[in-house]
Symmetry: C2
Subunit: 311 residues, 2 copies
């Protein structure tokens, strides 16, 4: 595939479709939305509004880091603080499906739909890829009809239109396009990170305090395993507690699970056989650097029957 | 220390104290109660009644295995089915301290006290060791005044007396006494197993079904790690569930933690660096042989800050 040609064609197509109107896109920092943002920016310049929605569910410094990264590429990103919206929607929820749904609904129906309306944009750029469409058709993923998710039923009445420049590509191709666009390597080599973000890594209720705990553990795991060559690595905060003893006193602490897997396409995965020295070091850091955590477990399970994430 | 002499002295002392009266002892299968049972039997013959209380919390086939083992040594053991008493006491409890207390209370105040009264015994043989007394004095363990635990306050009025033949010994000495008594090696080399048994290995409520799950996992771990040379190895059933995928369908399964530690005295411990092949094999067996379990985690944490058990 000729990626340079693909890029030129998509830029031309976006320009032709949007004309002098305004478009908007939501950047997450993942490779799909990053590529769409760059294509949109090259096509439309300042007629593209790029927002990064801070859901409170992102990793350490992630919103600012993504915004800075794109600013350095000459693409302005508006950081939107929607932390309270997401935390309010998640309060009291413990069922995994309900939590995922709450994140999706808050993102599309509440926060992004408001931003779209306020922006005056008539076009939405969206990073849908071929696999998303296939999985939606197969019933594995919920639908990717973004207009419906935004609560916009009648495209004709309101004049909204969705542009999906990557809908014919698979992930590998998107990475090649990113490379051809001269995006930094850490954008297209980024380990997978799910849409509902850290909400998928908290068993039980998602609260500001519990997010702080899993965020710290995630930072340690990413720091320690950044050069592991593994497909994906992450930290999960369980809801259970277990007994422990610290400074001679009995305590009842929280539990972090470290997960690190080998995989080619995320459809199957096996637990990485990490060096024991590395496992001990990660465990030591987690139980000493994170308040109230006194256990660290390593997930041995492959996919199937486990999934990579916990929610 | 001269263990043969110790044995002779204790047998003579028990015989002298009890005379022609009857005595009773509760055998758990652990080294302390096994040694006390053999000493008592040699001293008193059929004037010693030995009971094994089946609390529903024991490991696979454990009550029958212990009874058979002592029967083959010529020591009759009465199996007492108290499963319903323990399960009723544990129903609805999730707090670790409350669960431990419920097991202790049911054992002493309800089941064993009834057996003592029914037996007509005036003497109780009990496997208290020096460490128990020291830890009780230091406030680490709850008190070991067995008469109070049996709800018997006035020894004078009722004529009950407790005999503690091992109260001057530490665990290592007890093992030597077991050896000198020609007890089988698997009695004195048995890995530690806590008094509240499998109740310490279930996070959340202890039910018959959840006991079945952790009992199967325990059997697999003990079978696979029997020759590991580790100080202790066990399986824990968490209360949390995580998503999984089996036969193309999303499921929400249970989680087993495997724990295996190196230690000399249980006061400190480190996670054993097991071969990956062994870890994968244990995980595979757990997720295929046990219904409703789709994750297997390995505990990396040392003691402190974790304890060896989870409750």
């Amino acid at each position: 595939m000729d990626y340079t040609k693909f890029i030129e064609e998509q830029i031309a197509a976006i320009r032709q479709t949007v004309g002098d109107a305004k478009a908007i896109t939501a950047l997450s920092g993942g490779v799909d939305s990053s590529v769409v943002t760059v294509l949109g920016h090259r096509a439309l310049g300042k007629n593209l509004k790029t927002v990064f929605i801070d859901s409170a569910l992102m990793r350490q410094s992630e919103p600012q880091r993504v915004a800075d990264r794109f600013a350095s590429l000459g693409i302005p990103v508006e950081l939107v603080d929607a932390q309270d919206d997401f935390l309010a929607a998640l309060a009291g929820l413990t069922d995994p499906e309900e939590k995922r749904q709450a994140v999706t609904d808050t993102f599309y129906s509440k926060v992004f739909s408001r931003l779209v309306k306020e922006s005056g944009a008539k076009f939405l750029l969206h990073g849908t890829i071929l696999t998303d469409i296939e999985e939606t058709v197969a019933g594995i993923k919920r639908q990717h009809n973004i207009l419906a998710q935004l609560g916009i039923d009648t495209q004709e009445s309101y004049g909204y239109a969705v542009i999906e420049p990557l809908k014919t590509l698979r992930k590998d191709d998107v990475r090649e396009v990113a490379k051809a666009l001269a995006l930094p390597a850490d954008v297209y080599h980024r380990i997978p990170f799910p849409g509902p973000a850290l909400a998928t890594r908290i068993v039980g209720e998602v609260t500001r305090q519990r997010l702080t705990t899993v965020r710290k553990a995630t930072a340690i795991v990413e720091e320690e395993l950044g050069d592991s060559g593994a497909f994906q690595y992450l930290a999960v905060l369980l809801n259970d507690r277990a007994t422990g003893i610290r400074h001679g006193k009995r305590e009842f602490g929280q539990i972090i699970v470290v997960r690190c897997v080998q995989s080619t396409d995320a459809r199957t995965a096996t637990a990485t056989e990490l060096p024991w020295k590395k496992l001990h070091r990660i465990c030591d850091r987690i139980i000493t650097e994170i308040e109230d955590v006194n256990r660290c477990l390593y997930d041995l399970t492959g996919k199937p029957p486990a999934t990579i994430e916990y929610i």
